[in-house]
């Protein structure tokens, strides 16, 4: 059936709310308004204000309340409108959700799902364009996933809700309108494995989330240059599925990591480090990174686009890795 990323997410929410009475959704404008990105449109009427719960603008309080509700036996889905606002709840996520199980000697696990939009590209300027999923991927105790496809938008939520630990789900805001075909029987998917989205032999392009499509575009352009690129969608940012991406790199012997975050301290750096640690002797060239320019993301379209990874940049980095120079 033809659908969108947004609709696939909505179906996943509807399924979760219908199947498990402990599940509820809360966040800013998830109810009557229908969600800032319209993911939950219609669910308020269908499930009522107790299960699709509008919150005040108080990220720390409602994320913390999600932690408490999870401890109390519910299965909360907390929508933080965007990763930018999650910084107001970072204390709750890092100091409590992530630490509680270990700190309590294994007594209190937090089965919480936190969803948020991430990424730039819509001319929203410096305070609404962050890609900070790697900050959370740094923290033991959290699981961090990034659905990039319709299948993952449809299937990751239910699996995340079965997880006994906190799961952070990053949805690139440019993907909500993504259209495509989804199998009628599409359902839950694993959160563990990276996926090869395009097979190739000359270079591995590693990416996740919104960059998957720029990277696939780059791979198509590389093909026209006579370079066969393999595209790996990491899907899980913590833990990283090292086995899958290292197998790809060992096969192609070359790697380019694409990351919308700034280069310094980025997850791309971590992925590259793992490649060097795990596949150094299999490499034919130093791996490369394509990240955002280290500047607060500007409003003006040309400047914003110049700041972000683009297919041209990915192609250039891949050609350099493949051909040297």
């Amino acid at each position: 059936m033809k659908t969108t990323y947004r609709e696939a997410l909505r179906v996943a929410h509807r399924e979760a709310l219908a199947k498990d009475p402990r599940v509820f959704l809360m966040g800013e404008d998830v109810g009557r308004y229908g969600g800032a990105y319209a993911v939950s449109r219609g669910l308020y009427d269908e499930f009522g204000p107790e299960r699709v719960r509008d919150t005040p603008l108080s990220e720390s309080a409602f994320v913390g309340a999600g932690i408490g509700a999870a401890l109390g036996g519910l299965r909360p889905i907390v929508e933080v409108m965007t990763v930018n606002f999650s910084l107001l709840a970072a204390d709750q996520l890092v100091n409590t959700a992530a630490a509680l199980l270990h700190m309590s000697g294994g007594q209190f696990n937090v089965p919480l799902v936190v969803r948020m939009a991430t990424g730039a590209g819509r001319q929203l300027a410096a305070q609404h364009s962050h890609s900070l999923e790697h900050w959370y991927a740094h923290v033991p105790g959290l699981r961090v996933v990034a659905p990039a496809t319709l299948e993952d938008a449809r299937g990751m939520l239910w699996t995340a809700l079965q997880d006994p630990d906190p799961v952070l789900m990053f949805e690139n805001a440019l993907l909500y309108n993504l259209e495509g075909e989804l199998a009628d029987d599409a359902g839950p998917v694993d959160l563990d494995r990276a996926r090869v989205r395009r097979a190739g032999t000359d270079v591995s392009l590693l990416c996740w989330g919104g960059n998957l499509y720029k990277t696939l575009d780059a791979a198509a352009r590389l093909e026209r240059e006579g370079v066969s690129a393999e595209v790996v969608d990491l899907r899980s940012l913590r833990p990283l599925d090292e086995a899958t991406f290292l197998a790809s790199v060992r096969k192609t012997r070359r790697a380019v990591v694409v990351d919308e975050a700034w280069r310094t301290g980025s997850l791309a750096g971590e992925v590259m480090a793992r490649i060097i640690e795990g596949a150094f002797w299999d490499l034919d060239a130093p791996p490369a990174r394509v990240c955002s320019v280290e500047v607060p993301i500007p409003y003006a379209q040309a400047q914003e686009q110049a700041a972000l990874p683009q297919p041209e940049g990915i192609v250039a980095a891949a050609l350099k890795v493949v051909r040297g120079g």
């Binding site: 994320v63 999600g66 109390g72 519910l74 509680l100 199980l101 700190m103 000697g105 294994g106 006994p164």
Partner: protein
């Protein structure tokens, strides 16, 4: 006051006092490390509040929570073992003084980010409300937390959703060394709670019976589905903020004036005057508590530390090791 109540309260007050005095001693000897925040002077709050709660209620506390844990029913052995960093501790020695936890008594810490645990308490109450459980969540915090955004966000959320949370503010007048009047333009904390339509009152936090009565009333209100309640419990920390504190911020006269209102001694005298406690009872309680503390220290001393091989156990429930 009945002899039973007098005995129970005096026993708990004495347990906390003697336990913490012993902790200070063990700290001086290097057997307890890290931060150690004593509640000496503030024991009436933990003891009074726990008397008003049921075993099914939830408790969320701060890093100055030894008294709350003991009054809630954690064994002194498990708390002392935690202070000693031993696996037999109530958090396997991973939390120490600031992070006591116990699932069996619904004791959710031991939280050491000021005000960070207030939202968690609201969430626990949300779950109880949604699952139609007849329980309340008691959330303790110091007056310093009132300056944090979480205080305001959490009170608003609990009031908006009419959740059964008891916000129990232990006002010991100093956030570390900063006096309330040096950090708040409005020092009447009940006004802040009332502005969120949360019923609020001040209580003598040096008086066990006053605390127990006020918390019982608040809990009754919350259990009846009428939402949260805020109590400002006026108290005083007799010791340093932690173990390193030159106490430059308060006068000896002030400390002396408050020490004269010691919640343990004043309770003992009130109970004796009411004929509910005898000198013989006092001596027996003191002896029993002395023995319990000595036993807890011996237990903690002898207990094993968690093996390093278990360092990464339970980082997540899903995977034992990363």
């Amino acid at each position: 006051m009945t002899p039973e109540v007098a005995h129970a309260c005096f026993t708990q007050l004495t347990r906390i006092r003697r336990f913490e005095e012993a902790c200070a001693q063990c700290y001086a000897e290097g057997r307890i490390r890290g931060f150690l925040h004593l509640s000496i002077g503030e024991e009436a709050i933990a003891v009074g509040a726990m008397r008003a709660l049921t075993p099914a209620d939830a408790v969320v506390a701060t890093y100055r929570e030894h008294g709350h844990a003991l009054a809630r029913g954690l064994s002194m052995r498990s708390v002392m073992a935690e202070m000693f960093g031993k696996k037999a501790g109530c958090a396997r020695g991973r939390g120490g003084s600031m992070h006591l936890f116990d699932a069996a008594t619904r004791f959710y810490g031991g939280n050491a980010i000021v005000a960070g645990h207030l939202p968690l308490a609201v969430g626990l109450a949300l779950a109880d409300h949604r699952l139609a459980r007849d329980v309340v969540t008691a959330c303790f915090f110091g007056e310093g937390a009132v300056a944090e955004g979480e205080f305001h966000e959490a009170l608003n959320l609990a009031a908006l959703w009419r959740l059964p949370v008891l916000f129990l503010c232990e006002n010991n007048r100093y956030a570390m060394g900063t006096a309330l009047e040096r950090s708040e333009a409005e020092t009447d904390l009940t006004k802040k709670a009332a502005s969120y339509r949360v019923p609020a009152q001040q209580v003598d936090g040096m008086n066990v019976e006053a605390v127990a009565d006020a918390v019982a009333e608040a809990a009754g209100h919350a259990r009846a589905g009428r939402g949260p309640w805020f109590l400002e419990l006026l108290t005083y920390r007799f010791r340093a903020h932690s173990m390193f504190d030159a106490e430059l911020y308060r006068s000896k006269e002030e400390v002396k004036a408050w020490t004269a209102r010691c919640p343990v001694a004043t309770f003992r005298e009130r109970a004796k005057a009411a004929g509910a406690l005898t000198d013989d009872d006092v001596a027996k309680v003191e002896a029993a508590v002395r023995a319990e503390v000595a036993d807890a220290i011996a237990f903690a001393d002898a207990a094993e530390v968690e093996p390093v091989a278990e360092l990464t156990w339970a980082v997540t429930r899903r995977e034992v090791a990363p």
